[in-house]
């Protein structure tokens, strides 16, 4: 029941943001069709920007939701892991050359190798959490520090550059299709996870383990394996995000790529009304939460907030959210509400 109500939280936030923009500048909602620099017809406008640049976050929110549900903690190494996966991809595509126009390997091969590597790093986190029983945030702190260094090391600290038109499709537009490719990829990921949730028991298992590990064990589940799987799936999401991120710039900057994205991904899960302590989750709400955050980011940019000052504003939003969702505060608020309207009887 609560599960379905959950989606109203990001929805309400979305409506508030939309109204705010509508009042401040109605042109925010204008979508135009025009030629882009490559000479194709593409859609543009702030809303399209949100859908486009929110893709990475939406994809990560999928994996982060699962990890949160199963382990009751969050993975803070996703940004660093994106750097690793992106670096691996470029290493395969460029070999040891600094700049290529002919790819050394098909993109799909590079992507698959990146997937394997990202999933291995996911498994590393997962093993620390599931088998060594280290708190998820501490366990992933290891990769959080080392990740970007490992990424740099993979390419020997070079910043390979690809000047190949076809490689930009994943982070830009495919000729003839006016919708940004990242959004298409994100939708594809959503469809995949929807199918996975429908045709496997992943949802039930992760929630059971997150809610009650003892019961789950007595019902024949292996909680450690389920936790590990959730981290591996997050690794897969990381690889997809890396493809988009690298394609956007046809290169990589180890210290900048996917910077602070872990914060946004965790925020997306929280905004979706999911308990950060694990258990029940609503995937759609998390994804919607991701777009709400992108909406917020785009709005802040519009008001000339500089990108490196953004975290301060978002931190305020996070704190407000966690304070309002803290059990103690909720209890106090409901007591207060009761006091304010003593005439109304509470309906259970």
């Amino acid at each position: 029941m609560q599960n379905k109500k959950q989606i109203f939280i990001p929805l309400a936030a979305l409506i508030v943001l939309a109204l705010f923009n509508l009042i401040m500048d109605p042109s925010f909602f204008k979508i135009t069709m025009g030629l882009n620099s490559e000479g194709y017809q593409v859609l543009s406008g702030p809303l399209i920007t949100i859908l486009d640049s929110g893709s990475e976050l939406a994809i990560l929110a999928i994996g982060m939701t699962l990890v949160t549900a199963a382990s009751g903690g969050q993975d803070i190494s996703v940004g660093a892991a994106v750097a690793i996966a992106g670096s691996v991809m470029l290493r395969v595509l460029c070999g040891t050359e600094a700049s290529v126009s002919e790819l050394k390997a098909p993109v799909i091969v590079a992507f698959l190798i990146a997937c394997v590597v990202a999933m291995l790093f996911g498994a590393f986190n997962g093993i620390l959490v599931a088998y060594f029983r280290i708190q998820p945030m501490i366990a992933t702190l290891i990769l959080f520090t080392a990740g970007r260094s490992i990424a740099a090391w993979i390419n020997n600290n070079r910043l390979p550059n690809i000047s190949n038109q076809a490689f930009t499709y994943y982070g830009g537009f495919i000729p003839g299709i006016p919708i940004p490719t990242p959004f298409i990829i994100a939708v594809a990921c959503m469809i995949v996870i929807a199918l996975v949730m429908k045709f496997t028991t992943l949802g039930l298992y992760t929630q059971s383990v997150g809610i009650n590990e003892h019961s789950s064990k007595l019902n024949g589940l292996n909680p450690a394996v389920i936790k590990l799987i959730s981290f591996v799936i997050l690794g897969l999401c990381v690889a997809v995000v890396a493809l988009i991120k690298v394609s956007r710039v046809s290169s990589i900057n180890y210290s900048v790529i996917a910077k602070d994205i872990e914060m946004d991904a965790i925020l997306a899960v929280a905004l979706g009304g999911n308990a950060l302590s694990g258990g029940k989750f609503n995937m759609a709400a998390s994804i919607l939460g991701a777009y709400v955050i992108q909406f917020l980011t785009t709005t802040l940019y519009k008001f000339k907030v500089r990108s490196d000052a953004l975290p301060a504003y978002k931190a305020v939003v996070v704190i407000l959210l966690v304070v309002l969702s803290a059990p103690i505060v909720r209890k106090k608020l409901s007591e207060l509400a009761k006091k304010l309207k003593p005439a109304k009887k509470e309906v259970a």
Binding site: T145, V316, A326
Partner: protein, 344 residues
């Protein structure tokens, strides 16, 4: 019973002293190894003092971090606070006409404010410390660029004078190639750091409140049953940690003499790593600031070894830190598991 107690000396060592002993041994083994394999550089006392000079701020931050970790929490906002403090002090001194004392007060005030807010959220609203301080870290980093966008060196004369103050250490100097005696020196920040370590150590060991930190971290429920105000203890730990971050911010500022949004990048991580290497348990209740002090030294000795081995590139530092951290996490869990087995 008698054979039980005499059977295992190792068992009777308290967890804190056991892990502290390991840390100190590791540090000395590492340092001696460095002298043997990498030679003269490490034999110079100044090499050692340079580690102290460079890491004075980290030592202070690690003390605060250990305190929070001993009570079973964590604070990852410290790096951001250090950056915010140094930027604020830089702007204050150069643009707002502050004097040194006002800058110091500003530094302490910022640290205290972070400690108070975060401590309140963690202790009294019972929100996970990681989420709270993660937000704190992003807030501090964001605020740093809001205070001032670009890195700049401070020109304020009294600060530059203070920054360049060198305290000579007798007998530790060396004779350079030209034949002149070069005295070894430490900076003011090191004195502050050593004072912080000493005060924290004494407070943790010889005051009742200090022991409450351990009790709350060891078993919160029991601590409450024993009549300890657990919430207040957790609150206090965050306040002190915030305050130390403020002090560290000023010491850092004094060392680099500039403000920059990228200052103290990853310092929270180094502080956590140092605390863990120094024998502070993530689960709380076990730890020691002397250990954290040696943790900082160990971490930076290995970084120095890595860089003087010709792996100067920046990425090796991150990988080394993470590897050390990973190693000590595993060592901790193995040692404690064996100890537990020995007890049963």
């Amino acid at each position: 019973m008698k054979n039980k107690t005499s059977q295992n000396k190792f068992k009777n060592l308290s967890d804190t002293s056991l892990l502290l002993t390991i840390t100190i041994i590791v540090f000395f083994v590492m340092y001696i190894g460095a002298i043997i394999f990498q030679g003269s550089g490490f034999l110079k006392a100044q090499t050692f003092f340079d580690i102290l000079n460079d890491q004075a701020a980290l030592i202070i931050v690690a003390c605060g971090m250990s305190l929070v970790m001993i009570t079973g929490g964590i604070d990852i906002s410290v790096g951001g606070v250090v950056a915010l403090v140094s930027m604020s002090c830089a702007v204050g001194l150069d643009y707002k006409g502050m004097n040194i004392f006002q800058a110091i007060l500003l530094a302490l005030g910022i640290g205290l404010a972070f400690g108070l807010v975060q401590g309140f959220l963690v202790a009294y609203l019972e929100i996970q410390p990681f989420i709270v301080t993660l937000a704190g870290m992003f807030f501090a980093r964001g605020m740093t660029t809001i205070v001032h966008t670009d890195p700049f060196n401070v020109a304020n004369e009294s600060l530059v004078k203070l920054k360049d103050t060198r305290i000579h250490v007798p007998f530790m100097g060396y004779v350079n190639k030209v034949g002149n005696y070069v005295p070894a020196y430490i900076e003011i920040g090191v004195i502050v750091a050593l004072l912080v370590v000493a005060i924290t150590f004494v407070a943790l060991r010889w005051t009742k409140v200090g022991r409450h930190f351990y009790a709350v971290g060891g078993n919160r429920q029991s601590a409450i049953m024993l009549g300890i105000n657990a919430k207040r203890t957790v609150f206090l730990s965050h306040i002190i940690c915030g305050l130390f971050a403020g002090v560290a911010g000023f010491v850092y500022f004094l060392h680099v003499g500039s403000g920059s949004p990228s200052h103290a990048a990853g310092m929270e991580m180094d502080a956590i790593a140092s605390s863990i290497i120094g024998g502070t348990m993530l689960t709380g209740g076990v730890g020691n600031v002397i250990g954290s002090f040696f943790g900082v030294l160990s971490l930076n000795t290995i970084k120095k070894i890595v860089s003087s081995a010709g792996l100067g590139d920046a990425w090796w530092t991150g990988i080394t830190t993470a590897a050390m951290l990973c190693l000590f996490l595993v060592v901790q869990s193995v040692v404690m598991a064996r100890k537990r087995n020995a007890e049963q």
